[in-house]
Amino acid sequence: MLFAVFLPVLLAIFIPFFSKWKEKIHTGYFVLLAPLAVFIYFVPHVGNDFSPVSQSYNWIPSLNIGLDFYLDGLSLLFVLLISGIGTLVTFYSIFYLHKSERLDQFYVYLLLFMTAMFGVVLSDNVFVLYSFWELTSISSFLLIGYWNYREGSRYGALKSMLITVFGGLSMLGGFILLSIITETTSIQAMMEQADVILSSEYFGLILALILLGAFTKSAQFPFHIWLPDAMEAPTPVSAYLHSATMVKAGIFLVARFTPIFSGSDWFFVFVSGIGILTLVWGSYMAVRQTDLKGILAFSTISQLGMIMSMLGFGTSVAIFAAVFHILNHATFKGSLFMIAGIVDHETGTRDIRRLGGLATLMPISATLAFFGTFSMAGVPLPFLNGFYSKEMFFDASLEIHESSIAFANVLAQAIPYLAVFGSIFTFVYSMYLVFGTFMGEKKLDQLKMKPHEAPIGMLISPIILVLGVVIIGIFPNLVNSSFLAHTTEAIYGQPMEAKHVEFWHGWITPLYMSLIVVGVGAVLAFTRKSWNSIYNFFPGKLSFNKVYDFLVDQSEKASAKITNLYMTGSLRLYMALILVAILVCSFGVLWITDGFAFDTTGLAEITVHEILIALTMAVAAICTIFTRNKIAAILILGVVGYGLALLFVVYRAPDLALTQLVVETITVALFLLCFYHLPNLRERTEQVSQKLINIVISVAFGSLMTVVAISAHSTKLFDKISDYFLETAYKLGGGNNVVNVILVDMRGIDTLFEIVVLGIAAFAIYGLIKLRNKKEAE
C-alpha cells in the first residue's frame, strides 16, 4: 500500500522528462499509468470475503507517528473512486488540454494531489492523515491557480486555500486533543476508546474542531463559498477535485469518525443540521447561476450536504444511502463536469444564456448530459442511479432516532420537509442545465466558434461514467454485498446485512415524496422565468462572499492600522516603549517575588571628598539636561567623565582611572568634532504632555536601577570570586597587577574579543567615511 500511495509522486518526478516529448506524445499518457495501476491493485479487494488489511511503516517512531495504512470498506470505496475517476479524468485531460499548455506543471500537481488523496483515505494515523490532508489543500491551490495569469484563478485559489487550511488547522487541533486523551495516534485504536472520548471534558471542542475541518473541506454551509470560485480551474480539475474526490474528503473524515462520535446527540445536530442546510441552500442558489460550472458547483455543494446529513442520521439505512450516493454522485457529477468542459471547449463559452439548441449539433454530449442530469435530479426511471439514493435519502429522513435533546427532535421533524424542498430545487436546476444548454433555439451568432461534436477521445471518459450511472441504475444490487456493505459496516461500526435496493417497493411515503419533487419541480422548472426575480430579494445582495471579502479586507486593514500605530518610525517612541516594557517587567518581578532588600551592614564610611565629587558629577549631569547649547552639553558631560576618573582614584583603581581619563578625553574630542560638522538643526519643540511623559519614564527608570542596585548589594548569596583572584594573581599569573593579570591571563578571552570589537569599530568608521566619499565623488 505504501507503494500504491506514493506511486503518483514517484511518477511526478519524471514528468519534466516526459514533457520534453510533449509535441510527439501527450504527457498525459504517461500519467495515466499511475491511477490505473492503483485501481488495478485495489480492485481485487472487492468481494464478499473482504476483511480489513493494515500495514505499518516507520516514520517518526519517537512521536508514535508512522505511515500506518488501513484498508477497510470505507477506504476501499474512496481509493477506487479516486484511482478510477483519476484514470478517466487524466484520459479526458489528454484531449482537453492543448500541448501548448504547461503540461508538466499540470500533471505534477495532479499526481501530487492523487498521492495526497490516497494518503488521506488510507491513513490510520491521525497526524499522517493531517499531513496528506494539507497536501490536498496545497495541490488543489496549485491546480485552481493553474491559469495563474487570470485574476479570477488567483482569487479562487487563495480563497480555497485560506478556507480549507483554516479548517485543516482546526482539525489538527482536534487530532492533538484526541491523541492526548486516548494516548494513541491510531484511528482504529481510538475507536476502541470511544467511551473515553465521549465522556471527556474536551469532547465538545474535539467534535467542533474536527467537524470544522470536514465542513470547510467539503464546502458545507457557510464555508461553501470557495467551491464556486474554484471553478476557475481547468475542467478536468473541477471534475476530479471538486466533484468526485477532494470535496468528499470531508465526508470521508466524518464517516471515518462516525463510530466514535455517533454516540453523541450533538453529532447528529451538527452534521445533519449543517448538511440539510447546505442541501437546501446549495440547490436554491444553483438555479440562480448562469455559468454551467457555477450550476454544477452549487449542485455539488448541495449533494455533499445531502450525503453529510445522511451520515448524521446515523441509522444503518441512512449510512448505506450515503455510501451509495457517494458512488452515484461521483459517476454523474464527474460526467456532467466533463460535458460542461466539452461544451466550453467546442463553443467557447460556458454562459448558459448564450447556449441553446446544441442537441442536434452535439448529440452524444446531449445524451450523456440527459442521463447525468436526470440521475442528479432523481427522476424515477429504472435506469438512473440517482433515483435510488434519493429515495433512500427520503426513507432515511423519516426514520431518524428520537434524541434526548429537544432541539434535535425539532430538527428531526423538519428534515423530511427540508429534504423535499431541497430536492425540488435540485430538480429545477437539473432541468435548467440540460434544457438550457441542449434544447430550445440555437444562438450560434453569439458563439465564438461553430459548435460540433467533441473528438471521441474526449467523450470516452463521460461515456464510461454514464455507463456507470445506467448499470447501477439497472442493477442497483450489483456491488451491494461485495462492496458497499463493507463500507457501511466500516462506518456503522458493526456488521450488517447487505441492503437490497429495489426500484419498486410499493406505495410508501418516500415514493410520494419523490412524486411531489418531480411534479412541483417540473412546474417550477417550466415557469422559472416568472419567479426568477425572487433572487433579487432573497438572498439579494446578501452573500457569504461579502463576509469573506470583508474579513480578508478588514484583517489586512486592521493589521496595517495596528502596525502603523506603534511602528511610527520615531526612535523616541520606540525608546519609550522599550523602557516602559523594561519598567513593567522589572517592577513586576520585584513585586511578585518580593525582591526588594535593603541592608546597610558592611557599608564603608562616606568621606568628604567622595561627597564633593559625587555632588559635582550630579550638578554636571543635571546641567547637561538643561543647557540649550550642544557644545556646552558635551563639555559639561566631560565633567561627569573626569569626576568618574577621580572616583576611580579615590576607590584605588589606578588602571581604570588612567583609562577612563584618556578615553573620556578622546570621546569628548570626537563629540566636538562631530558636532562641529553637524548642520544647524531645528530646535525641537515638544508638547508639555510629551515632556511630562518623558520625565516620568526617565525618573522611573532611574529609580528602578537604584532599587535594583540596592537590592543586589543587600542580597549576597555567594562568596566573592575576587578573593581567589587576589590570592592567585601572582602565583598563577606571575603579576602583581591583579587587574592586568585578570585582563590578559585569567579572562584573556574577554580582552581578545574587546580588541576585536575595537578593530571592527575602526574599520567601520574608515569604511563609512571613505566609501561615502567615493560615492560622492562619482
Binding site: G733, N737, I749, I755, L758, Y766, I769
Partner: protein, 141 residues
Amino acid sequence: MVKTNDLILKTMTVLIAFILFGFAVNLFFAGHNEPGGGFIGGLMTAAAIVLMYMAYGERAVNKVLPFNYRTMITIGLIIAIATGVGSFLFGQPFLSQTFDYFHLPVFGEVELATALLFDLGVYLTVIGVTMTIVLTISSDR
C-alpha cells in the same frame, strides 16, 4: 593669510613626544606588576603620535612614521589570537598563559610571561584603532 609660526609647539613636541613614548613603553612593560598595560600604553603612544601630527602636519609625520594603522590593527589581532592558539602546541586550553624567570645578559634576573605577548597584541590593536579613527575623521573634508 599670514602663515603662523608655531616654533614653540614644534620644539616642545620633539621633547614631549619622546617623553610620552617613553612613558607609554613604561606603562606597557610595567603592566604586569604596576598600573598600566597594553590598553593604556597603546592609548598613550597614540596620544604621542597625535601630538606629532598636530605639530608637524600630515605629510611630515607620514614620512617619519610610515605605518599603515589598519595593517597594525590586523597584526595586533593576529598576535593576540596567535598567543591563544600557541597554547595548543603545549596541549593546553586556548589562551593559557605561563611565565618564568630568566637571567638575561643586560637586564639580570627578569620575569618573562607569555601574557606580555598577548598584551603586545592589545597594544598594537589599540594604537591602530585610535590612529585609524583620528586620521580618518580628521582627513574628512
